[in-house]
């Protein structure tokens, strides 16, 4: 009976993993196929006619190298900048007292209730007025000091003993010096977790890049993949090759830093 239970458990888990992995296998497989083989019956898992030509064509006929650079540049800039401002903001809320602090914190929490996509129309018009359409600014600047990041860092910093900060203050360090020399080194694990969340969100972002980036030279990977789709004909072979490239960086990061991904998810949940 016990062994049967174990068997059923492994069976269900294995089936789930197969279903989970299958789309990835399908994506990779299709990226090495000719378009005619993608649309042939019965479908093949291992390509009959294995070739790298989709990848070569993607780089030869489209500015795909430039698109990879754009995605990377935006994600790295947004992540670094957001980490700085969110840690600073979290420090401000965790370790300082100031006028209307509680009310201001409540505003910060409440701002998370408004879905960012819901204001896409007026926000686009704002970007248009200040000349930010078709630039990277809308994808980096508005999220620099975001409510989630500040809240996350504040929660983490409340456990830092005040005596540490007091000691540095007696030594004559300014508040910003204390932030750089004492706080930042202590919160490194939280920075890793938050950094992964920011990078992932930026790398995979779609709605705003789609709205803002109009020139193909400026587009990020997800947007350029969408634009390959034509009205009559969609080159799935090229889209799959681009898709494989787009998922590689996060897969690699995930392999080495899995625990930070997990702690990012559970950070909000365990409190409940």
């Amino acid at each position: 009976m016990k062994r049967l239970n174990k068997f059923i458990m492994y069976l269900i888990l294995t089936l789930t993993v197969i279903i989970t992995i299958l789309p990835f296998i399908w994506m990779i497989s299709a990226s090495f196929k000719d378009i005619r083989e993608i649309f042939s019956y019965p479908p093949t898992i291992i390509p009959d006619d294995f070739s790298f030509s989709n990848y070569l064509q993607l780089f030869a006929e489209y500015p795909f190298a430039r698109n990879i650079f754009n995605s990377t540049f935006i994600a790295v800039t947004a992540t670094t900048g957001s980490l700085f401002f969110c840690t600073l903001g979290g420090f401000g809320f965790a370790k300082f007292d100031f006028k209307f602090k509680n009310q201001l914190f409540l505003v910060l929490i409440a701002s998370m209730l408004i879905p960012p996509q819901s204001i896409m129309i007026p926000l686009f018009l704002v970007f248009k007025r200040i000349g930010w359409v078709n630039t990277f600014y809308p994808l980096i600047v508005p999220g620099l000091a975001n409510a989630f990041g500040i809240f996350f860092m504040r929660q983490y910093m409340t456990s830092i003993p005040d005596s540490l900060i007091e000691a540095a203050r007696i030594d004559g360090g300014s508040d910003f010096y204390i932030f750089l020399k004492i706080i930042v080194p202590i919160v490194k694990p939280a920075l890793a977790t938050l950094g992964i969340i920011f990078f992932m969100n930026s790398w995979n972002a779609f709605v705003w890049p789609l709205i803002i980036l109009q020139d193909i030279e400026l587009q990020t990977i997800p947007v350029v993949l969408t634009n390959l789709q034509g009205v009559i004909y969609t080159p799935y072979n090229l889209i799959m090759a681009g898709s494989v490239i787009s998922i590689i960086p996060l897969f690699v990061v995930f392999m080495f830093m899995q625990q930070y991904f997990i702690s990012g998810i559970t950070a909000g949940a365990v409190k409940q």
Binding site: I12, L104, S111, I114, P115, D162, F206, T226, I239
Partner: protein, 288 residues
């Protein structure tokens, strides 16, 4: 002791500057805009409440709300049930827990655009993998993306596939916080595995389950990319979601005034949902 000086205010001010510029101002601006007719380039024309009146007459608004509800009531129960089962399995003494956990979480870190295009291939009526498997079971080919019900179920499948692992990890963290002694005591009292699941696990997991439910509600009302790529909202608007309708109204039809009234409707519904859920969460916290 906390220091009282300007530093705290200075350190937190970037958020408020960005919040005022890129959230408060656009929301106020769209309030004004929602009383106007504007295509984005010409003159604005004051139309009073006309946009809000049209909102109630617009079948697509109600259809998109209905679709969101349909998605919510179909994929969320299935997903949370499966996630709870997986979490219970992963919480028991099994080998390779780390591997299973990592594998089911993988879909969540992948670009939704890449995944949605892959699902188009998997769900293809003639050449898709899913219909091939179904044909082995003797089920004739289903037009997943070309029929209203098929397209809705396709979105459900994509949502479950992408979010199952994420919810499993949250529920697993919840399970790990239940003390082992409670189960041991139940075994001594002669309770079976199934009994202790329903008498101990489920009640103690209620707050965590509620938390995942809240996340899913928010997620469902924000759905955009899944639909935009996989079905484009079709066929016959059967998978149109509120945010996709908002996008179309603004960026395809250039009705910025009317789109602003949709913006307000979405914000209003989200706020009501959030308040109901916060109340639920707080009540549970008091009780537990």
């Amino acid at each position: 002791m906390m220091k009282k000086n300007k530093s705290g205010l200075i350190f937190t001010s970037p958020f408020y500057i960005l919040f005022l510029t890129f959230m408060v101002y656009p929301i106020l601006f769209s309030f004004y805009l929602s009383f106007n007719k504007w295509n984005g380039v010409g003159e604005m024309e004051w139309v009073g409440l006309a946009n809000y009146i049209n909102l109630f007459r617009d079948d697509l608004v109600w259809k998109s709300m209905f679709n969101a509800l349909f998605f919510f009531f179909t994929y969320v129960p299935v997903m949370l049930f499966l996630a709870l089962v997986l979490a219970v399995f992963l919480n028991s003494n099994i080998k390779g827990r780390g591997f299973f956990r990592a594998a089911v979480y993988l879909p969540n870190i992948t670009s939704l655009v890449a995944v949605a295009f892959t699902f188009q291939l998997l769900l293809d009526k003639n050449y898709g993998l899913l219909n091939m498997f179904l044909s082995y079971l003797g089920i004739s080919s289903i037009n997943w993306l070309g029929t209203p019900l098929g397209a809705r179920l396709s979105i459900d499948m994509l949502m479950i596939w992408r979010w199952l692992g994420y919810n499993t990890i949250i529920l697993l963290a919840g399970l790990q916080s239940i003390p082992e002694e409670m189960y041991e005591a139940a075994i001594i009292d002669g309770a079976s595995k199934v009994q202790s699941f329903f008498r101990i696990t489920v009640p103690l997991m209620k707050p965590v389950l509620l938390f995942t439910l809240v996340l899913s509600t928010i997620g469902t009302f924000r759905m955009f990319t899944e639909v935009f790529i996989l079905t484009g909202g079709g066929p016959a608007n059967s998978t149109l979601t509120p945010v996709v309708h908002l996008y179309n109204t603004g960026f395809n039809w250039f009705k910025f005034g009317y789109a602003s009234s949709i913006t307000y409707l979405i914000i209003l519904i989200t706020l009501i949902l959030s308040m109901v859920q916060m109340k639920l969460l707080n009540e549970k916290e008091v009780k537990s």
